[in-house]
Symmetry: C2
Amino acid sequence: MSGALMSAEMDEQPAVLGRLVDRFEGHAAQVRAIVPDRLAGVAFLARGSSDNAAVYGRYLCELAAGRPAGLVAPSLLTLYDARVDYDGYLVVALSQSGATPEIVTVCQRLGAAGARTVAVVNDAESSLAEAVQAVIPIEAGEERAVPATKTVTGELLALAAVASALGPVPFDRAALAALPAEVGAVLADPVQPRALAESLAGVERLFVVARGLLYAAALEAALKVKETARIFAEGMSVADFRHGPIAAVDEHVPVVAFDHPGPAQDDVRDLVATLEARGVPVGDLALPAAVPEALAPIPAVVRAQQLALALTLARGLDPDAPAGISKVTETH
Amino acid sequence: MSGALMSAEMDEQPAVLGRLVDRFEGHAAQVRAIVPDRLAGVAFLARGSSDNAAVYGRYLCELAAGRPAGLVAPSLLTLYDARVDYDGYLVVALSQSGATPEIVTVCQRLGAAGARTVAVVNDAESSLAEAVQAVIPIEAGEERAVPATKTVTGELLALAAVASALGPVPFDRAALAALPAEVGAVLADPVQPRALAESLAGVERLFVVARGLLYAAALEAALKVKETARIFAEGMSVADFRHGPIAAVDEHVPVVAFDHPGPAQDDVRDLVATLEARGVPVGDLALPAAVPEALAPIPAVVRAQQLALALTLARGLDPDAPAGISKVTETH
């Protein structure tokens, strides 16, 4: 019931990220070597936490490549047996285990349909790694706690390498080099997420909002809180939140917002002001100011892990092995 | 507080759909005329309820065209000023009002970036209709209740016409012709959704699940319930539900499932059995068996409207004008 496993794996993140920073240019070069001459688009293939990482990749790769990016709907292949042509596409498959049968099967099908394929996996010996043309191994070591932590931030950084293979990215080498230490500083300072967890321990419903590049972190924060603390949390873009769900919040339904310098900041702050004026409790998860917005989803996900861990313990639950889910999910 | 407006607009759906069925081939021909010779992909642009319709379009168009389809991330254009190349793409913009500034702006930008553009709008005189190369007007008449109903099912049928312009679709002309009467029969029989609403009136949290082509209807059902009945509902694919959120449900968090004959049915039933074995209350919204799965999202959304209306009344709220949202949302 201590969350010792989850906590220890969270603490490994600066080291995992540091090794990925060292290999960053090499991984970008690997991907660059297989990108189609005339890129039609980029498609991400994932489930669960990896799906949230894919949302980050989807934004960053479209920004870098200037060509549309999106998410694969696996059921089109597995259930509907769609006859698709993925010629000109780069497919990026993500799976922490590299063993989710659905992801492996769909990736093979898309490769056979003409896509160039790259896998982001923790284990370079996995079935998914064998099914693709380029592999970015996270090499985070075994993840024993059920909630994925170090593999998720590793996936995010791996996707930043994929994006940098496709075109200019909005962060520089110095920011990349500083990232592991910035994440270390976030881990060393759990005061704010713990205080937020204390104020949220009694709630049953929660929204997490962000916009643009940080939207993926809001999705991941909600998923972590949902699967560990069993709070009904939903992640949403600030813009989608205004189109309906804003009606469902009041003083009993708090909103947690990611607010960081960048093009999306004004929009987030505007929503926060509207909510506060209506008496909705709004919590904030502070991010290191020096990290550029394009890399900020990584410390943001770490903040989300801290919040989920503290909330879960405050609710008397076990973060390391939440009821009802297992590590490798057998969807097909 | 009667929901008279919403209810009257729901009842107009067979007539609105009937007119769209009559114009179906004409609209498909309009779209066919602007599809790029070598289609790179299809991208949908929408917010709110229209975004849920777009998810339906995304599945059906990829099935029909055999080329990847996905959803546009508007903030890449409006906030990040991404320099994108949409050459070879068909962009389908949806907006009930045709007046959401964000959608109009992004559609213009994508057209300037090389996309062929089509708009699905209620009002053919709107700004969005003027910004595109082909227009499919829903012509549902003015929608006065805040929750969108007849315009949403109209959008779904319009997207079926877009898909049929791109390739073979999994429904025939006879099924299309029968659809308005099938929807009329659903509207004439509100017993089951009312009974379900009665059993759910006291809950604060709810999941709506489906898979494949009906996934969009689960998203729309959750949005309607959230914005009218103020219940914290989340729509989710059966596969994603197994990757985490399944941990958050127990006897206090019911799940509503769309179960209909088709390739996704076994997967839905398998999840329902798992949930029932754990004591999770599972509700069902029955759909007319004769409607092929590819058109079933239309009666499914009508069932969702019936459920949302009954739930909202049962909770003493006003379905016609939910607190906190307005008809045209100004996102940018």
